[in-house]
């Protein structure tokens, strides 16, 4: 048991899974000798050698495309796209193939691959280094889209993703890479994909978020208790797709009110699906419109203005209070 940050926790998952199963291999830009630009793959090259930890040429489509081919042979490639902002270069491989091969081959082949990619803002980064692309992946059927929120669940989710027989897009909120340390057990831990977790119980309002937004959301929940005497239930999705509609609906049937928070621009974002699903499954329980607290519908703002664009405690509180008072 060690106190690890998210980078360390993910690294632990990779080390252990690679030791456990020699079909697990890692590839991507700078994942080998350099240990990944965020050091998530640190030490793997030294431990498992260049056959299993491959510094690939700079070509995202081929990184995912060759991973797919490897999977047909029984390997379990964990590839890294250096930033989710360059993940669209591999989008055709993901959309046209990873998310279709089981269906296309009627079960003869499937893509047991994990495509890891750091996502999200909050790190004073250049353009294409702080975007949130989850909704694009979530819309495609047959993919799984996972996004951890703490070191411990990051480790367990990555282990589960690697063992999952279906393609997993594994989004790593880079703002959380070094944000906190948490006890992470040495022994293996997994978390079933497709299940949200109740990060905080409450009865007055449901706050729904994932990834880096969990921190301001949990902080807002504390403020609501202290200043408003309101108990917010907080749902941490962990898996965005397939969406755990049951947990969401159950919470909102209890609280009657919901606010969804994400970093991506609002329109046609993940928050829309969550809201639409709640309307379908908990309409008669809704006592206020479902609000979305998100980035604005702008393509990129530069890090000097990122704070104004991304949801923070204040905006979450504002929306929560409006919803409570509605």
């Amino acid at each position: 048991m060690a106190k690890l940050n998210m980078v360390g926790a993910l690294n632990l998952a990779l080390h252990q899974e690679m030791a456990r199963d020699e079909d697990v291999i890692v590839l991507g830009e700078d994942v080998g000798v350099d240990g990944g630009v965020f050091r998530v793959t640190d030490g793997l090259y030294q431990k498992f050698g260049p056959q299993r930890v491959m510094d690939s040429p700079l070509a995202e489509s081929a990184i995912v495309g060759t991973s797919i081919g490897m999977a047909f042979y029984g390997l379990k490639p964990v590839s890294e796209i250096q930033f989710s902002g360059s993940s669209f270069q591999s989008f055709p491989q993901i959309e046209n193939h990873a998310g279709r091969y089981r269906m296309r081959s009627q079960g003869r082949y499937h893509c047991q691959i994990v495509v890891r990619m750091p996502c999200g803002g909050g790190v004073r980064a250049l353009e294409h280094h702080s975007e949130s692309e989850e909704a694009y992946y979530a819309h495609h059927p047959a993919l799984k889209v996972v996004i951890p929120s703490t070191p411990r669940n990051a480790r367990a989710l990555l282990v589960s993703a690697i063992r999952d027989p279906d393609p997993v897009i594994f989004l790593e909120p880079k703002a959380l890479y070094h944000a906190v340390r948490e006890e992470v057990p040495d022994e293996e831990e997994t978390v079933p994909l497709g299940r949200a977790r109740i990060a905080r119980e409450g009865r007055d309002l449901t706050l729904i978020a994932y990834g880096a937004m969990m921190r301001p959301v949990l902080e807002a929940a504390e403020v609501l208790r202290d200043e408003d005497g309101a108990e917010a239930e907080v749902v941490d999705l962990l898996t965005l797709s397939p969406l755990d509609r049951e947990t969401l609906a159950a919470s909102v049937r209890k609280t009657g009110r919901a606010v969804v928070v994400h970093e991506a621009p609002r329109s046609f974002g993940a928050g829309a699906e969550i809201a639409a699903s709640l309307v379908e499954q908990a309409f008669l329980y809704l006592e206020a419109p479902i609000r979305r607290v998100t980035a604005y519908d702008v393509p990129f703002v530069g890090f000097a203005r990122e704070k104004a664009n991304l949801p923070g405690v204040d905006r979450i509180l504002g929306a929560a209070r409006e919803t409570l008072r509605f």
Binding site: P57, G65, F72, Q93, Q106, D166, Y285
Partner: protein
């Protein structure tokens, strides 16, 4: 060394063994035993006849759009003959001849083009990938397979097909480069059939040959007469042996011609001349190979007639099996989405199942069954009345 010409390690060769006029380069003639020569001819003829039958079925509306192969039989069979069943074959969408050779039942292929995904269920034991439609996107899969084979200590090689147009796609480039860097045992088999739908080879790229593109990735590229099954085989065998021995990837450009339509949705008269087609019909790989066998006394008119009969029967049987296998039950669409169906998808399946059963007064369409609402359970003062 102010201005020096650099010596590049590879060059581009052109290979032709059995000329269009029947002349044979006996030095280069590959040794193929008589039985295999017979099998190859049969496979060419079967592919030609099956192609014709499919065209016919398509015109009758019994199957949908497909890409005929007429004219490209030598390029496909000469290359696929160079690999073994333990090797892998990664097709694009125009390799019916290679697929038949590898053991795909005709009825599966028909089923696929009739709109049933069951048709792409690769037969057990056949180490092929299904058809890939996005141009060039199958090439990285071939590289991944090849790498994995080596990783697993398996000496299989991977033969992958693509067209002249495919060489313009980013995926062609990325896959070729990966293969070079990884030393992956892949044979990149380009069927340069002169056209990418309506775009002629000349407008596709300024490079003089397609084969020379391999030089950009540090491995050999060879151009062959793609209507000469002996040349295609010789070049392929060389590449396969090299790859199997750890020599890495190679590219082969088969110069051939699509004698028919691009797909059944295409009208080639809009973009190419009858004369051009006629010109290439004279180089038909099937007649060229037939003449070769006749000269060798391996085929006579009677044998040819019997072969045609056999093949006609085989195709007729396959069509019958195909007709019998069409089961439009839509519920199978939920079967191979994930390994395990998530709740939402299960709910969608049930919704469709109920709709099909015609039970229930108009079930919630395309929606998970809503939990019974507990009306009045919660109320808020904001709701007036």
């Amino acid at each position: 060394m102010p201005r020096t010409r650099l010596d590049l390690p590879y060059h581009v060769d052109y290979l032709s063994i059995l000329g269009p006029d029947g002349t044979l380069d006996t030095d280069l003639e590959p040794k193929i035993d008589e039985a295999d020569l017979g099998r190859l001819y049969r496979a060419m003829l079967l592919a030609r006849r099956f192609d014709e039958r499919m065209l016919n079925l398509q015109r009758q509306g019994r199957i949908g759009t497909f890409a005929p192969i007429k004219g490209q039989e030598a390029a496909q069979l000469g290359s696929v003959y160079a690999i073994t069943p333990a090797d892998w074959m990664v097709p694009s969408f125009r390799e019916t001849a290679s697929m038949l050779w590898r053991g795909w039942p005709m009825e599966l292929i028909l089923l696929f083009y009739a709109g049933y995904l069951e048709g792409m269920r690769v037969p057990d034991g056949v180490r092929d990938l299904p058809i890939t439609i996005p141009v060039a996107s199958q090439l990285p899969h071939a590289v991944g397979l090849a790498y994995a084979a080596r990783y697993k200590g398996d000496d299989a090689v991977v033969l992958t097909y693509f067209g002249d147009g495919a060489t313009s796609e980013g995926d062609f480039h990325e896959a070729m480069n990966f293969a070079g860097v990884l030393g992956a045992p892949v044979i990149f088999l380009c069927q340069n059939n002169q056209w990418a739908i309506s775009v002629p080879r000349k407008k596709q790229t300024q490079s003089r040959t397609l084969a020379q593109k391999a030089l950009a990735y540090g491995f050999p590229g060879t151009q062959v007469d793609g209507n000469d099954i002996l040349a295609v085989y010789a070049a392929s065998r060389e590449a396969v042996e090299r790859a199997r021995d750890g020599g890495g990837p190679a590219m082969i450009e088969c110069v051939t011609y699509r004698l028919g339509v691009h797909t059944t949705a295409d009208d080639p008269r809009r973009y190419r001349s009858e004369e051009e087609v006629k010109e290439w019909e004279r180089k038909d790989p099937l007649t060229r190979f037939r003449d070769y066998l006749q000269k060798k006394d391996l085929l006579d008119a009677e044998q040819e007639r019997r072969l045609e009969e056999e093949i006609a029967q085989e195709i007729a049987d396959a069509v019958a099996r195909f007709e019998a296998r069409q089961d439009p039950d839509p519920l199978v669409m939920f079967d191979h989405v994930y390994a395990e169906r998530p709740p939402e998808l299960e709910a969608e399946r049930q919704e469709l199942a109920e709709r099909l059963r015609g039970t229930g007064a108009s079930p919630a369409e395309g929606e998970a069954p809503a939990p019974t609402p507990m009306r009045g359970q919660r109320r808020t003062s904001r709701w007036p009345n």
